[in-house]
């Protein structure tokens, strides 16, 4: 406690009336020191001694630079000097380093006083340390903190702001809260902020967007507290954190939820679910709209679906479906409704389980009318197309690029069925047409080989179309087909193979060819007739005429006359022969079926041999025959006799005189053709010279041989009358061979 003496060690006389002030100074909580104008300590209270860790004696009477050398260079000294001169009080926070290097902080209030300067000092070391700790806490925190003025100017911001909002703390301090908040959020934020001004310590929670330095918006959530009146703060304090991610997730969730709802409620499809007791659990808008329309009422959750006011028939059907679903079956049914308008509904049922027990069913119905109609149209057009291709006589198959038969029409199928062992056997739907063809081609079927080549050419676009006419024999008859292969592009390249039975046409063509040939034959006959007339009839006639011209000539000798008369007789005889031959030849041609009989070739040869033994025996002729292949044929015996007779006698006539004449006769039978051959070792004939005339009427090539040149003509005529053909092969001095072919 201060005494008078204690307070005046240097003879200082306190002012009267100031004693009590000194007392106050002595007992103040702050340190008090007074410096005179010469910077000497003239008063220090106990707190100062405590603060400076010095004794009163260490201070009083000393100047400050004496006590603290170097103080003139400090900020404190500047302030003290200024205050001494200006006589205006100042505040200063001073760091004080003790001799032991410990540091204390003092808040100094420097006031001018009559003696000089009065310095009040408060030890704020403790406070300062607390604040430091607090700052670290704030600055290391993920949460952000700002202090702002009433007007919104940023006074302080924690460094974590940089990480979240992009601004450096310095940049942020230039900002005003109002510039940072999203325009949509700013109004309500300001209002709430203003509201807390009235009540110190009050706060509010906010969520809003603030602008990131790069321009985008960050969602933040925080609390604002009014600490305007709080000493050491005097600001609006905002604690907040970045919630952008959470916000995004929330928005996503909300969007999805909205979307799902939108989907469910905006679809035309009906969705509803019922419980085990047939009560409506949930339904979408479409279901609600339809049911309200159908029932002319208002449905609601919990309604018994069996009691809805809809036609009984439909209700029964639905009830049946529900029961199935409630037994756990997942299924889809098409419901066909005809009243009031025709509708096809596709209804699907999905049982709802809870703990493995069906507790209801979710149902989904969709109007599939247009789809069903479209399907029906396609089906109809397929039926139509099918009908068209089935109605065609052509056998049609469609194969894909691999050769797989995609479809065949009725005609194709019918033919394949009817000709089970035929090539088409394996070409039903699903079979591989190319492989069937390949197999047959490998086996040597040339037609199929051609077909395969043609198909490949069309498939590989070397040809647009492939046509082939071919014949094939079934068990009953020979058939002709015309094949056409065309390509068309679908998803895959397809080939349409159509085969037309053109047997009828071919038959007609063959008939026409027959008619043509027979007309040609008639024409040849007429020419032949003209030839006969001009040569064989006219020659004797000319002789008779010539004789008639001269017979009256008076100069004729008796012997001449006799010769002439004899000549007339021979000419007349010749004339008669020709007329007889003509008659015979004209009678030939067609052989009637009823005149045919079984003729045995070997017997025929024996008969002829017997009848012409007068030609055979003296002329060294041997007749050999071999009819082992076929010895019997149903034909006209008269003609066949004539053919055999004429060919045998022909060979005898044109034998070589000095050798044994051998005539070989034989038969073969192949491919339903009967072949008869007559070969001799006679003189032969130069076919190059005479070939065209061998079978001509009245053609003779040898003067020595008797005959009128009608034998081979007769043979040919008769062979043709029996539907056969005759050919000759001959070489001079070697022999001649006649070959006759008949269709059996």
């Amino acid at each position: 406690m201060f005494s008078e003496e204690t307070y005046n060690p240097h003879g200082f006389q306190p002012l009267t009336g100031e004693k009590s002030y000194r007392n106050i100074l002595d007992y103040m909580l702050e340190g008090v020191q007074i410096l005179n104008f010469d910077w000497q300590y003239i008063y220090v209270n106990d707190v100062v001694l405590k603060q400076s860790k010095l004794s009163r004696e260490d201070l009083l009477g000393f100047t400050m630079p004496q006590r603290y050398p170097g103080v003139e260079k400090t900020e404190l000294w500047k302030i003290l000097k200024r205050c001494m001169n200006t006589r205006k009080s100042e505040q200063f926070e001073n760091e004080f380093i003790y001799a032991d290097n410990t540091i204390s902080y003092f808040q100094l209030r420097i006031q001018p006083c009559p003696e000089g300067l009065l310095i009040l000092s408060v030890d704020i070391t403790e406070y300062n340390n607390n604040e430091k700790r607090f700052r670290v806490l704030i600055e290391k925190s993920q949460d952000m903190k700002t202090l702002s003025s009433k007007d919104g100017d940023i006074l302080y911001c924690s460094p974590s702001i940089t990480k979240v909002l992009g601004y450096t703390t310095d940049e942020y301090l230039q900002k005003n809260v109002l510039d940072m908040v999203h325009p949509d959020d700013v109004a309500s934020f300001l209002l709430k902020r203003k509201n807390i001004f009235e009540v110190p310590g009050s706060s509010f929670h906010y969520e809003h967007r603030v602008k990131h330095k790069s321009g985008h918006w960050i969602w933040r959530e925080g609390t604002i507290t009014n600490l305007l009146n709080e000493p050491g703060i005097f600001a609006i304090v905002s604690n907040f954190r970045d919630i952008s991610e959470r916000k995004l997730a929330e928005q996503q969730r909300e969007f999805e939820q909205n979307n799902l709802n939108a989907l469910i409620n905006n679809t035309q499809d009906l969705m509803w679910s019922i419980g085990k007791d047939f009560s409506l659990i949930t339904y979408n808008r479409a279901f609600e709209t339809l049911m309200n329309f159908l029932t002319s009422g208002t449905i609601k959750k919990g309604d018994d679906i069996r009691k809805l006011n809809i036609p009984q028939e439909r209700l029964q059907l639905m009830k049946f479906f529900y029961q199935r679903a409630l037994k756990g079956e997942i299924f889809t049914e098409i419901q066909h409704i005809t009243e009031p308008v025709e509708i096809y509904n596709e209804i699907s049922f999905y049982p709802i389980y809870k703990n493995n027990v069906v507790i209801g069913t979710a149902c989904h119905a969709r109007d599939v009318t247009s789809r069903i109609r479209f399907e029906q149209q396609i089906k109809n057009s397929e039926i139509f197309n099918r009908g068209v291709i089935d109605s065609l006589n052509a056998h049609i198959a469609v194969v894909d690029s691999k050769g797989v038969v995609i479809t065949v029409n009725a005609a194709w199928k019918k033919f394949a069925d009817a000709n089970g062992k035929d090539r088409l056997q394996n070409s039903s739907v699903g079979a591989n047409y190319f492989e069937v063809c390949k197999k047959l081609a490998d086996a040597g079927d040339e037609t199929v080989m051609q077909v395969l080549t043609g198909i490949m050419n069309v498939l590989h676009k070397k040809e647009e179309i492939f046509n082939l006419e071919y014949t094939c024999s079934t068990t009953e008859k020979q058939l002709w087909f015309s094949m056409q292969v065309m390509r068309f592009e679908s998803d895959d390249t397809m080939l349409v193979i159509s085969v037309h039975d053109i047997s009828e046409r071919k038959k007609a063509e063959l008939e026409r060819a027959d008619i043509f040939n027979s007309l040609l034959q008639r024409n040849k006959d007429l020419e032949q007739f003209s030839y006969i007339v001009s040569h064989n009839l006219r020659a004797p006639v000319a002789n008779i005429l010539g004789t008639a011209n001269i017979i009256d000539n008076p100069g004729l000798s008796v012997s001449d006359k006799e010769l002439l008369v004899k000549g007339v007789g021979e000419s007349a005889k010749k004339l008669d022969e020709v007329i007889y031959d003509l008659n015979y030849i004209l009678k030939l041609r067609q052989v009637k079926e009823e005149t045919k009989e079984k003729v045995c070739f070997s017997k025929l040869v024996k008969e002829i041999t017997y009848n012409i033994h007068h030609l055979i025996d003296p002329n060294n002729v041997i007749i050999q025959y071999d009819f082992s292949a076929i010895d019997e044929w149903r034909t006209s015996k008269e003609y066949l006799y004539s053919i055999f007779y004429n060919l045998i006698t022909n060979s005898i006539k044109f034998r070589k005189p000095n050798i044994q004449t051998i005539i070989r006769i034989g038969s073969t039978c192949k491919d339903e053709l009967l072949e008869l051959s007559f070969a001799d070792n006679g003189t032969g004939i130069n076919l190059k010279k005479r070939g065209g005339q061998v079978f001509g009427i009245y053609k003779r090539f040898h003067l020595e041989s008797e005959g009128r040149g009608i034998g081979l003509f007769l043979v040919k005529t008769q062979v043709e009358a029996l539907g056969g053909k005759i050919t000759i092969a001959s070489e001079e001095n070697i022999g001649t061979k006649f070959t006759i072919t008949f269709i059996l």
Binding site: S530, R538, A539, A542, N543, N549, G555, E570, S571
Partner: protein
């Protein structure tokens, strides 16, 4: 110009040859020489060999339809003979044919003077003997 004395007949019809020989002698005189061949090969042989010794103007009456050698084949051989021989022998086709084709074929051969349709008549023989061409007009058929 002296009338032709030698007549060569080539025809397989012996009756025709006989008739023609009688007709030639009756209409043109007995001193006419007639050589007749029923085999054309022999007729050709005569022209090729013996005729070379005679070498006088002659008429050849040639038939067309003969078994071993036709008149046309005969003419092919004839065309190969010496020009001298060809000049001396006037060839006529004597045929019973009334076929137009035969006539045309005769016309197309330069060595054939005319086509005569049987029978031979007095008029035709006289023109032949005078070595007259039988004009196109005259080449009608005598029937």
């Amino acid at each position: 110009m002296k009338a032709i004395q030698l007549y060569i007949m080539v025809d397989d019809d012996a009756i025709n040859n006989m008739l023609c020989t009688i007709s030639l002698k009756r209409y043109l005189g007995d001193n006419i020489q007639v050589k007749s061949f029923t085999e054309p090969e022999l007729g050709l042989g005569f022209i090729k060999n013996e005729f070379n010794d005679i070498m006088q103007r002659a008429v050849l009456l040639l038939d067309v339809n003969m078994p071993t050698m036709t008149g046309w084949e005969f003419m092919e051989e004839f065309d190969n003979l010496s020009e001298e021989v060809q000049k001396l022998i006037s060839v006529y086709i004597l045929s019973s044919s009334i076929d137009e084709q035969d006539k045309q074929r005769a016309d197309s051969n330069k060595n054939i003077i005319g086509f005569i349709s049987k029978p031979l008549t007095q008029e035709i023989l006289i023109s032949i003997s005078n070595n007259q061409h039988i004009s196109q007009k005259d080449q009608h058929f005598f029937s």
